[in-house]
């Protein structure tokens, strides 16, 4: 009880600090490249007239650092659903970003620069994502947008990122159009498109369960993202088995009507493209209405919280993922969980959302390191394109990027809830 009171006091204290912080904006946000250069020059002068200092001065004069980069920090922005029914995912991703930031900064930063990031809530509303992007780029002057969540939201903001030469890094967003390097040369991802995920699901289904008596139902969000999810399935070897397509809305309060339709269609397998909370609710309502089928959840459904919320009803459910189970036993996963728990994560936050952000953070660190001291958008992108066989400690298979391909990972991993935990069944590719 007392701790709650302290939390309340802390809220007021934070509000006060925010108010004070706002007052300082004008002073602190103007850390432009020219300022960085001049401060670099003056520090070099102070260190004497050695040849090293001279060459450093010369390099500094030649290098015009990217927006959001100074001698001692690199600033990122991240638009997340911190409120609304996807808030849990936003919270998980931000925690993983904090873990990444702290790991890098405690190790002395990258080329002497600390990582900083600003999070703005978009409540999974594309209009808010656009205004957040404007804020990040025009007011805060960030170097890049990092680990944002949402296809529809990112799709709205991506043109703004591109126009302002702002890299878009490792979002949990999977619209097919994002991966076209010619249209979006600054977009880097380790998350295959939704299209690839359902295609992998269809192929796995036919390989493992055949086609006899199989009837598939899909429930996807009513958006372009959902349409691509459906198309991916139709293009799989199980495409002909699709008998019922249903959609859900962000403001859905029940999936009962969709489930009743699946019952009418006699489906044997239902693929549900939602977040973990919605998937748990779907399992609950499917049980209430007597839908007897195998349930397959998309990437967003794979978290410990699905199991916590749905309880026994989640047992046997499948997950179609792009990344290993967050609870698996591999060096990279163990390091991830250790860092997350040390940062105060709850069991429910050990999830795909946080693991994807964490993994993106590993690649981001590598790209920044390879880009060297003179960090520009060009040097950063060029560095990213040289990464080959990047080892994530088993979180994903080795990642490869090139000038033609900014999607480092194309895995489709099938998981299943067994004995109250997600277990990895098979790793394959679309």
């Amino acid at each position: 009880m007392k701790s709650k009171l302290w939390k309340l006091l802390a809220i007021f204290a934070v509000l006060g600090l925010v108010a004070v912080g706002c007052g300082d904006d004008d002073d602190s946000s103007g850390s432009s490249a020219s300022e960085s250069s001049s401060s670099e020059s003056s520090s070099s002068e102070a260190s004497g007239s050695s040849s090293e200092a001279s060459s450093s001065e010369a390099a500094a004069e030649e290098c015009e650092l990217a927006r959001g980069v100074t001698d001692d920090k690199i600033l990122f922005g991240s638009s997340q659903p911190m409120t609304g029914n996807l808030a849990a995912l936003g919270e998980q991703a931000v925690l993983a970003m904090e873990v990444t930031r702290d790991r890098i900064n405690e190790g002395g930063g990258i080329n002497g620069r600390m990582i900083e990031f600003i999070v703005q809530d978009d409540a999974y509303n594309p209009e808010k994502t656009v205004s957040n992007a404007q804020y990040f780029i025009e007011q805060e002057g960030v170097f890049a947008i990092w680990a944002s969540i949402g296809s529809a939201t990112l799709k709205a903001a991506l043109p703004l990122h591109d126009e302002s030469n702002t890299p878009t890094l490792f979002p949990w967003a999977q619209d097919l159009s994002f991966y076209d390097v010619n249209n979006h040369p600054l977009f880097f991802s380790v998350n295959p498109p939704a299209y690839a995920q359902t295609k992998g699901f269809g192929n796995y289904l036919v390989e493992n369960f055949g086609t006899d008596g199989i009837k598939v139902g899909l429930m996807t969000i009513n958006s372009v993202d959902g349409e691509q999810t459906v198309q991916g399935y139709k293009d799989s070897s199980g495409g002909d088995l699709l008998v019922d397509e249903q959609t859900w809305e962000r403001d859905s309060t029940t999936y009962g009507p969709q489930i009743l339709s699946f019952i009418d269609s006699g489906v044997t397998d239902v693929y549900v493209g939602t977040g973990d909370t919605q998937f748990a609710q779907f399992l609950l309502e499917a049980d209430q209405l007597g839908l007897d089928a195998r349930f397959w959840g998309s990437t967003g459904t794979i978290s410990a919280n699905t199991i916590e919320l749905a309880g026994d009803l989640s047992e046997g459910a499948y997950g179609v993922n792009v990344i290993s189970s967050a609870t698996g036993d591999k060096p990279g996963l163990n390091a991830y969980r250790e860092a997350m728990f040390a940062a105060g994560a709850e069991d429910a936050q050990i999830s795909t959302a946080s693991l994807l952000a964490f993994t993106g953070g590993l690649v981001l660190e590598e790209m920044l390191t390879l880009a060297g001291e003179c960090l520009t958008v060009e040097s950063f992108v060029a560095a990213g394109e040289t990464i080959k066989d990047f080892d994530t400690g088993g979180i994903m298979r080795p990642l490869n990027f090139s000038a033609e391909n900014h999607l480092g990972n194309n895995d489709v991993i099938i998981l299943q809830v067994q004995d109250g935990a997600w277990q990895e069944l098979v790793v394959g590719q679309e």
């Binding site: 939390k7 609304g84 397509e245 309060t253 009507p257 969709q258 609950l284 919280n305 429910a348």
Partner: protein
């Protein structure tokens, strides 16, 4: 046939939530001419409080709900006195609406900081939310039955208060003619505060009873609030029974359109239907043009 009954029942369960929130909104609007945009968040906090008392403070289930309702009522009293009442005295409608939006933002952020964004399961005794009965081909979830009973009991209590108590008389008087009510010696601030508290308690009941259905998560009642708002508009915003009927109608519209409309239109169709209804009857289905519908 059972198919239709099953869908109708599913729609009715959603409709109960919209009806109760619609009722809570209309109650305050009709009496005080205030749109309370914080109603959804306030209802959600009631659900979180009931969960907190039970799961984290080890209170018995019923006592936890009682404590949550007391805190909801007391909190609403404070909110009304501190934020709304001073603005009512200015006599301008817009600042009050903005204030309720501010209260909503504040409470949502406090809730987020306190409970976090991760969804939680609201456990009920005997896990009865996981019990399903098969009656012929019709499937009935035990908790849905609790939802239905709670809705009817709540509506009955509100009906009793409005029709049989002094507060209800005051509410009716202010709904009919505020100036006349004041001349009759009915104290505006007293009627207003107790209407707010009653409205918050109705919202609180909704927040608690729907927590096992929707799970406790940030903003989980805001979606219900939006639907309740549509229900209130459909009902005419000046009729309590209209607000309730609007909610039930909206629930049914959603259920039947999702089931049978093409996927591209299913989600939008209920809103389109509401839009058409309002074009034909701009004052809503259950309010006469001049807004002199009885409470």
């Amino acid at each position: 046939m059972v198919d239709y009954i099953q869908i109708a029942w599913q729609g009715l369960v959603s409709g109960f939530a919209y009806a109760l929130i619609g009722l809570a909104l209309v109650m305050v609007y009709k009496t005080a001419r205030i749109l309370n945009f914080a109603a959804g968040t306030m209802a959600g906090i009631s659900g979180f409080l009931a969960h907190w008392w039970a799961a984290e403070q080890d209170m018995p289930f019923g006592v936890a709900i009682l404590f949550a309702m007391i805190m909801t009522g007391a909190g609403t009293y404070v909110v009304e006195r501190l934020t709304v009442r001073p603005l009512v005295k200015l006599g301008d409608f817009l600042p009050i609406v903005i204030m309720t939006l501010g209260v909503e933002e504040f409470l949502a952020n406090v809730s987020l900081l306190w409970w976090g964004g991760t969804a939680r399961r609201y456990r009920v005794p005997g896990d009865i939310d996981r019990i399903n009965w098969l009656i012929g081909d019709f499937r009935l979830n035990a908790w849905h039955l609790v939802v239905a009973i709670t809705t009817f009991v709540t509506l009955s209590i509100v009906g009793y208060i409005i029709n049989q108590t002094e507060l209800g008389l005051g509410m009716k008087a202010f709904a009919e003619d505020q100036d006349a009510a004041k001349l009759m010696g009915i104290k505006e601030s007293t009627v207003s505060i107790w209407t707010w508290v009653l409205s918050a308690l109705v919202g609180g009941v909704t927040g608690i009873v729907f927590a096992p259905v929707l799970f406790l998560q940030q903003d989980y009642m805001n979606i219900i609030f939006i639907k309740g708002f549509v229900a209130a508009i459909l009902g005419g915003f000046l009729s309590l029974s209209g607000g309730v009927a609007g909610g039930l109608l909206l629930g049914e519209l959603e259920a039947f359109t999702i089931k049978w409309a093409p996927r591209e239109f299913a989600a939008a169709l209920p809103v389109v239907i509401v839009f058409i209804v309002l074009l034909i009857r701009p004052h809503g289905l259950f309010t006469r043009e001049k807004g002199h519908e009885r409470v």
